[in-house]
């Protein structure tokens, strides 16, 4: 006779909880941060299986003294670096101004990308101007780095008479075909599989352009993330899949998205997609990793997944108050620093930049944003108008307006 089975202990549910909540000090000491320059740089045709370590490592180029070190140094010309710095500073000044405009009631809503400026700016610079971008709401830097007019962006935020989207979309949900910037959706994740579809189309047509897409670590739980990786892998789609791990999804920390067990970059490995984990606050590392992925895509070697490791320094949006769920001022303690400070430090270390030039640039950027702000406001704000004609509300639902909409438009008296 077998011995009686031991009575099993009752099960219990594990629910991830961040290490600190409001009331305690933020503490990042548990964060393993590899020194800059230590991650290896594989050839662009390296199979995913031979570079799995890079999904757990952290690609960093800028060291604590602002020197570029290691195999990922993209060795960019000072002019290019200065352009990047200017764009990042413009993004930050733009964010400040639009957030203020929201507080003043000139629009309904705004979302900053504070601390994440290097991502969109460096990535826009690392791909070709004709490559197609499928962003989330936190990549305003793509438009700015592509020199898209600030006034045009502001008009969208104000839903005013100059808004190319005719007041239809919530603030920051930009769209510009001319800028190669796909219409942003409010529904998380949808752009990820769309980008893969665009890339597949480019391959079908024998084009040379590639696609790039962004998603937040929180939204990787959506099905679209997995659909995108599946199709990208199966058809070896020419696409750069960026995953911005800023550690928060509104009030949920990255553990709720699965970050307790593994890295987000490691998700790519299961699909056989070469995957990198990169310091998202390091302009040079972001640029280099994106260039590497772009070269792969352009050489018909297929997709890459890049996790950009960063921190959402500001609130999720103007509707959010992070003091309710995380220690105050958490972003200021992020061990990987501020992307703008780090690039400035690098330029100074290179001997091509100075505090005085930095101040001049800051002033120039502030003036440009202010001038754009005035011009945009002269075209209207959400609280006071003017807007497009209300008649436009009925347009573009279909290519040609069916009888019932025509009738509703007349009924609306517009």
């Amino acid at each position: 006779m077998d011995a009686p089975m031991p009575v099993p202990a009752p099960l219990s549910l594990h629910v991830p909880e961040p290490p600190q909540r409001p009331g305690s000090e933020i503490d990042f000491t548990g964060l393993a941060v590899q020194p800059a320059g230590t991650a290896r740089r594989p050839a662009i045709d390296c199979p995913a299986a031979d570079m799995t370590d890079l999904a757990y490592d952290l690609v960093r180029v800028l060291d604590d003294q602002g020197h570029a070190v290691g195999p990922w140094d993209p060795a960019l010309a000072p002019d290019t670096l200065m352009r990047g710095l200017r764009s990042m500073m413009t993004v930050r000044a733009y964010d400040e101004r639009m957030q203020r405009a929201q507080r003043q009631g000139k629009t309904s809503f705004y979302m900053k990308c504070t601390g994440e400026e290097a991502i969109a700016v460096a990535q826009a610079m690392a791909v070709d101007r004709s490559d197609m971008l499928f962003p989330t709401y936190r990549q305003q830097g793509l438009l700015i780095a592509r020199d898209w007019p600030l006034v045009d962006m502001m008009c969208q935020v104000f839903s005013n008479a100059g808004d190319r989207l005719k007041g239809r979309q919530m603030p920051v949900f930009y769209s510009s075909k001319e800028a190669g910037f796909f219409s942003i959706s409010g529904n998380l994740g949808t752009q990820y599989s769309q980008a893969v579809g665009w890339a597949m189309a480019s391959a079908i047509k024998g084009d040379t352009r590639i696609a790039a897409a962004w998603i937040g670590e929180g939204a990787t739980a959506e099905g679209d993330f997995h659909h995108a990786l599946t199709f990208a892998s199966v058809y070896r789609a020419p696409v750069i899949l960026t995953l911005v791990n800023n550690h928060w999804a509104i009030s949920s920390f990255h553990g709720i998205a699965g970050g307790e067990r593994t890295t987000f970059a490691a998700r790519g490995l299961g699909y056989g997609i070469p995957s990198l984990r990169v310091d998202g606050n390091d302009f040079l590392a972001v640029f280099a990793a994106t260039r590497w992925a772009a070269a792969r895509a352009r050489a018909n070697l297929g997709p890459s997944l890049i996790e950009l490791f960063t921190y959402r320094a500001a609130a999720h949006s103007t509707s959010d108050d992070p003091a309710k769920y995380r220690p105050e001022n958490a972003g200021a303690h992020w061990p990987l620093g501020d992307p703008i400070d780090r690039l400035r430090q690098h330029l100074i270390a290179l001997g091509v930049w100075s505090e005085a030039r930095q101040e001049d640039l800051a002033r120039e950027v502030a003036e440009a944003v202010q001038a754009a702000g005035k011009e945009a406001e002269s075209l209207g704000t959400l609280d006071k108008g003017p807007y497009h004609s209300a008649r436009t509300m009925f347009e573009d639902v279909y290519k040609t307006m069916p009888w019932h909409l025509e009738r509703q438009r007349r009924q609306a008296g517009v």
């Binding site: 929180g218 959010d320 769920y325």
Partner: protein, 337 residues
């Protein structure tokens, strides 16, 4: 008895049900520690523990599938979808699974899941934070659909929804979360405290699903409304000085056909109001029902006042919203017949 906002009343309903039954769990994006982006689950995790009130990964399809699985075990999950606009990824689990589980398993497996979702416009949410997708779900056999218009109803209906043995879509008019709204966006915001239906009893009480409420008695015309539009219809009848009888349907499926029939037979006229788009909206179903049940009593064509058949535009929120002026016009038209 306490004076509550709709947010507090919903919170109280979940609190009561979490306390009464160990089978009730609350899950959704940001519902745990933070207490939900609209604060409806505030404090529930602290009180009932992390294993019963918890944040989920951002995947509505996942939330719904998980909820169906939990229900199969015997729990009563209350799943929050952060906005009704974000339910669509969950549609397969909702429509093909939750709604049909009882039927396809011969009653062996059921899915007593309550799906809560803020819905409707009026907060400048643009097209992905303003939609009223109730008709998509009223069309699905196996789902019930409930929409409260006051704190008192919100608590009693949510308790009934959680106690119900079938899946219930529970749409919460977000414009009503913190105060009633008559549709005049340029007038000062009124707090719930000034409204009699903000008096909410302590503890457990249930408002049966499938029962409408007559919020205004009248003889001239019946207005069928639900959610935010109940308050807008009240304002419209007042301003147009029409002696309307206003039914707050509260449950769309199963709808209270007896109340509708009794009222329309009495008044002989009917105006149907909803914020959702017109074509294929729930108003079309109501219109058909009134025609089928009250044809010989009708003295004027049935009127529908609805959102336009466009996405919800950001800047033209108030041109889109079927406000009191548009309802008043419809009232005048049916009265002229």
């Amino acid at each position: 008895m306490a004076t509550m906002t709709m947010v507090q009343a919903l919170n109280a309903a979940m609190d009561v049900m979490l306390t009464r039954s160990g089978d009730v769990v609350v899950l959704g994006e940001d519902v745990g520690y933070f207490g939900g982006v609209f604060r409806c689950t505030d404090g529930l995790q602290r009180k009932h523990g992390r294993a019963r009130v918890f944040d989920t990964p951002i995947t509505e399809a996942g939330i719904m599938g998980i909820a169906v699985g939990m229900a199969a075990y015997g729990l009563r999950p209350v799943a929050e979808m952060q906005f009704a606009d974000y339910i669509y990824p969950a549609c397969d689990q909702l429509i093909s699974e939750a709604a049909r589980l009882r039927y396809r398993s011969g009653g062996e497996f059921t899915a007593p899941v309550t799906v809560r979702a803020p819905y409707g416009g009026g907060i400048f949410g643009g097209q992905t934070h303003s939609q009223s997708p109730e008709a998509i779900f009223t069309h699905v056999a196996g789902l019930k659909t409930v929409i409260p218009s006051t704190p008192y109803d919100a608590k009693g209906l949510l308790i009934s929804a959680i106690e119900d043995d079938d899946p219930v879509m529970f749409f919460e008019p977000k414009r009503l979360y913190n105060g009633p709204f008559e549709g005049y966006h340029d007038r000062p915001v009124v707090p719930w405290a000034k409204h009699p239906a903000s008096e909410v009893p302590d503890g457990h009480y249930a408002i049966p699903l499938g029962k409408a409420a007559t919020v205004r008695s009248g003889t001239a015309v019946t207005i069928l409304a639900y959610g935010t539009m109940v308050h807008v219809a009240m304002a419209a009848a007042r301003d147009a000085q029409v002696d309307a009888e206003i039914l707050d349907l509260r449950t769309l499926v199963p709808v209270d056909i007896e109340a509708i029939e009794a009222s329309v037979r009495k008044t002989g006229r009917c105006v149907i109001v909803h914020e959702a788009t017109r074509t294929g909206g729930f108003g079309a179903e109501l219109s058909a029902l009134v025609q089928e049940h009250c044809f010989h009593h009708l003295e004027a064509p049935i009127e529908r006042v609805t959102g336009w058949d466009t996405p919800y535009p950001h800047a033209f929120e108030w041109e889109y919203f079927p406000g009191p002026a548009r309802i008043a016009e419809a009232l005048r038209r049916v009265m002229e017949e």
